[in-house]
């Protein structure tokens, strides 16, 4: 945040110049940068927030400060930074979303350790409300990729400027599948309830997470993610057959921008070994594989030179947390979801958005169609 640039900066001069730069567009980040230019340390402060209204057909609506995240960073020197995000969910639940130290070995290699986001698909890493269309995050990024998915680990990240490639590889602590009393993961939302989130986590078997992002074709960004490992179980049950399961997850994602048109899509598939033994031990209904995709197109209705942007978008999702099931449980049609979301994202300024959309949700069950109107405000600074 604070400029420790090669050339020492004259702070007072810079600030007086900024006052004269009314003609230049400036967003929140630059404003913070300006303000903190005068602060003689390496602190960063930022955050994002979503205040949402969900109105299902024939049911009460819900109005919620869904999440408010405060970002703090400290730069010890040009190579060593600490980043943390403190999250308030629904006003009263507090979590730490990220807390890691990043050490830049050189321009193309970083070593980082701590509580970090698992790079899988698009939204888990890029989940700030101004970066995606739709009031709610895509549902596949809730049920298949359990956003915000974060665990404690260590790994490498970096990029190749020549190849236009970003890479990440981490060893993480895995999901907790059994806490000694109950099985935690299940058919309806897959691995979501097994996230340990860095809170007194049980650790026995490391898991491997990797992602490659290629951005060498103008306007296009492609991602390939992989996550491989085994879940964890409480000490008293770890040796019991079925208390843990093996997990492989693969993700493919693409984002495309051309002038006022944008599109994105994501495919996720995961395979779970020993789901039958797990279900037998716990009485749960975990599937043996989960898969699905979403695809989205959007168009900015305002001229490209305007600071404000007004996107109209449509998104289609199709995913199944019971894509295949072990022989000891029935396949539930209700776990095969299809959703169409269409609406508007009105970016008032870089970093502030009003959103409204309509969702039609259905499952594999006949007559399961449900409509929902959503509206919300999002900020990122």
């Amino acid at each position: 945040m604070i400029s420790l640039s090669a050339q020492a900066q004259n702070v007072s001069d810079s600030l007086s110049i900024y006052k004269d730069q009314n003609l230049l567009q400036i967003n929140g980040y630059q404003r913070i940068l300006q303000n903190l230019e005068a602060v003689p340390n390496g602190m960063t402060f930022g955050g994002y927030a979503e205040v949402l209204y969900n109105q299902p057909e024939a049911a009460n609506g819900e109005i919620d400060v869904q999440r408010l995240i405060l970002l703090f960073g400290y730069k010890f020197d040009d190579r060593t930074q600490f980043v943390t995000e403190v999250e308030f969910e629904h006003v009263k639940e507090v979590y730490i979303e990220q807390a890691f130290v990043n050490y830049a070995v050189n321009n193309s290699l970083n070593v980082r350790a701590g509580l970090m986001l698992v790079p899988m698909g698009i939204i888990n890493e890029y989940h700030e409300p101004t970066t995606f269309n739709g009031v709610e995050r895509p549902s596949i990024d809730n049920k298949l990729v359990p956003t915000t998915w974060r665990e404690i680990g260590i790994g490498l990240s970096g990029r190749s400027d020549a190849l236009s490639l970003r890479y990440q590889a981490y060893i993480f602590n895995g999901f907790l599948s059994h806490n000694g009393t109950d099985g935690l993961i299940k058919g309806s939302n897959g691995l979501r309830s097994g996230r340990q989130k860095g809170a007194e986590s049980v650790f026995r078997t490391p898991n491997l997470s990797m992602k490659l992002d290629f951005y060498g074709i103008n306007g296009l960004r492609l991602g390939l993610s992989g996550y491989f490992g085994k879940t964890q179980a409480d000490d008293q049950i770890y040796d019991t057959y079925g208390s843990t399961v093996g997990l492989s997850m693969l993700g493919l994602d693409a984002r495309y921008n051309f002038r006022r048109f944008t599109a994105r899509g994501q495919y996720i598939t995961s395979s779970i070994n020993d789901a039958d033994q797990y279900n037998q031990l716990t009485g749960k209904d975990l599937g043996s594989s989960m898969s699905g995709y979403y695809t989205e197109a959007a168009y900015n209705l305002l001229p490209i030179i305007k600071k404000q942007r007004l996107f109209v978008f449509v998104r289609y999702e199709n995913f199944d947390t019971h894509a295949t099931v072990p022989s000891n449980i029935p396949r539930k049609a209700a776990f095969h979801r299809k959703e169409i979301t269409t609406g508007l994202s009105y970016h008032l300024a870089p970093g502030a958005v009003f959103k409204v959309d309509y969702q039609n949700k259905s499952t594999g069950l006949a007559g399961s169609d449900n409509g929902q109107i959503n509206a919300g405000v999002g900020v990122w600074f």
């Binding site: 090669a6 050339q7 630059q30 040009d78 970083n110 103008n218 490209i304």
Partner: protein, 179 residues
């Protein structure tokens, strides 16, 4: 298991220790020299800091937080110019280099130091090549003649705005001097 973790930890500590001695000013200068050698196919050049001299007296701004301009000379011959700028990324700053020929046609843009993880994609050679061969009269519009990079929007806009500002300032100043 424990001993292998200890070995890895010791190796990591040695690694960090050997890379800890670090001077970013020297690093930027070294990288600039290397780029000039590569682009101008010349080893025996010298750099003359002309920041603040007539034609180059422009101020920093929101998207140009610091800058230096050098004339690249080989003996008495002017080969071109090197512009070093500092621009904001999401929560930090980055340094970039623009190399011009003697007529201020851009030969190359390169990100010299990018500090944070977010937005580092702007260092892509492919993306930066969009600015190549441009003259000071050209202006760049994000999403129009400069393509977006998903996940690096803030830095893409910052770099685009920074180059626009530098071009407009150089164009204005040089016009005044030549009058």
């Amino acid at each position: 298991m424990i001993s292998s973790i200890t070995n890895i930890t010791l190796a990591a500590l040695c690694f960090f220790y050997t890379t800890a001695d670090f001077d970013i000013t020297k690093l930027v200068q070294k990288r600039m020299q290397k780029e000039i050698t590569k682009v101008f196919l010349c080893n025996d050049f010298n750099l003359e800091n002309i920041s603040g001299s007539p034609g180059f007296q422009f101020k920093n701004s929101t998207y140009l937080m610091d800058h230096q301009i050098y004339a690249i000379n080989k003996g008495d011959e002017l080969l071109g110019y090197a512009f070093l700028g500092t621009a904001p990324s999401k929560t930090d700053t980055f340094e970039y280099l623009i190399l011009f020929d003697q007529n201020f046609i851009q030969k190359k843009a390169k990100v010299m130091v990018y500090r944070e993880d977010y937005g580092g994609e702007i260092s892509s050679k492919r993306w930066l090549s969009q600015f190549q061969n441009s003259s000071l009269g050209e202006r760049f519009i994000y999403g129009d003649n400069i393509s977006a990079i998903s996940g690096a929007t803030i830095s893409v806009k910052s770099m685009t705005n920074s180059i626009n500002y530098v071009y407009s300032q150089l164009q204005r100043q040089l016009a005044v001097v030549s009058r």
